[in-house]
């Protein structure tokens, strides 16, 4: 196989929003295919290589986690603008996942319970953390597709390494992807 130069390999970017990085772990779980991965793809913005800003447009963006705060939304939009194809990865990106368990109660109740009425909170002194640097929480956790247009979804918590591999290799060929039944799992 001819050696591909960095410039003409498909560019992949990844991000974790309100997720647990479990999906990223699963991506790295592709075992020795990691070598193939490096051959096939160029990794741009991603926590794996710590590139903070897109240095070029990506063909595929993988988004783990839903949106629980305003920073998530901004990053997700940044990804949407810089990726040709955006893939929602895992349960959290798809339905909010475990963070979305808070969706059934008002945010204020949730904050009061966590910071003010918590057993460890010091009476009279506890506050809801706030700083200009801290992102603001959204009223609920939003799945990514309620914020931006999503092209494909990878189910699973996390999606298995096989799912990542299947998805990446077929999406990059410009095909839609058709996961075999046995790879579709939600847990």
């Amino acid at each position: 196989m001819a050696e591909q130069t960095a410039s003409n390999k498909p560019v992949v970017a990844t991000i974790s929003l309100a997720g647990c990085f479990g999906c990223h772990m699963s991506l790295l779980d592709i075992d020795d295919r990691i070598v193939q991965f490096i051959d096939l793809f160029e990794l741009n913005k991603s926590p794996v290589n710590d590139i903070k800003k897109f240095t070029k447009r990506a063909h595929v963006g993988l988004v783990e986690g839903g949106c629980c705060n305003d920073e998530n939304v901004k990053v997700l939009r940044y990804f949407r603008e810089n990726c040709d194809v955006l893939v929602s990865v895992g349960a959290c990106a798809g339905n909010g996942g475990l963070p979305a368990l808070r969706n059934k109660m008002p945010l204020q109740e949730c904050l009061v319970e966590a910071y003010l009425d918590a057993p460890t909170a010091e009476l009279g002194k506890a506050i809801i953390p706030y700083d200009e640097e801290l992102p603001k929480l959204l009223d609920r956790v939003y799945p990514c597709h309620e914020v931006v247009k999503i092209d494909y979804y990878m189910p699973g918590c996390p999606p298995s390494a096989e799912v990542f591999w299947d998805t990446l290799t077929s999406v990059i060929k410009g095909q839609g992807f058709d996961l075999p039944v046995e790879l579709i799992k939600y847990d």
């Binding site: 929602s88 798809g94 059934k104 918590c157 847990d187």
Partner: protein, 236 residues
Amino acid sequence: MPKITFKIDGKQCTAEDGQNLVEAAADNHVYIPTLCHMKGEKCLGTCRVCMVKVNGKDMAGCTLSVSEGMEVTFDTPELNDKRKALIEMLFVERNHFCPSCEKSGRCDLQALAYRFKMHIPRFRYRYPFFEVYSKVDKLMLEHNRCILCQRCVEFIRDPDTNRKIFSMRNRTNKSMIQVDYRLANKMSEEQIDKAVAICPVGAIIKKGQGFDEAYGQRKYDQHPIGYEVDGGTNSK
């Protein structure tokens, strides 16, 4: 019992006259998916996932009795999409968080969603609020996962009085299953196990018994739903 012949998607099938279509299909190795129907029990007709076409008309398969010469259309892109849509409606209607559910891996709703290759529901999640009911000594009702199939309502009765233990309350999307507190506390271990087992989702949970089967070894980890009927031949 006289035998009759009928067709499902052109496939010649035989059955007893008047047999329930879902069951007759199963006897002929065709798996018509359903979330409410149980073999040998009365038809509930609540989930509508078993939709088929007979004489060009959409019908719930579980409500039909087979007759000589009947021609059933079952496996078409249009009908499969309807089934998938119904499953997706159930996913968004309440809070189905599979990763934290005791029933995951042996849940009929989840397994059917796999079978129909649902990656994400086409509808918006609603995130309604339902409190878990845990007053009964040995079981819990996790309303967030209930699909209101009514199996527990119809098929679990107090053995002494034949009164309903589970029932439905309210109407419309506010419907919820409820239990008769005193009768529920009288339930035997076996009866509780039965209630948990016939619940197609994780809405009826036995206390003290949660994630008791390892990932990879649960019912639908082994084989997709319907495998025992069609041997995996028409699961796509």
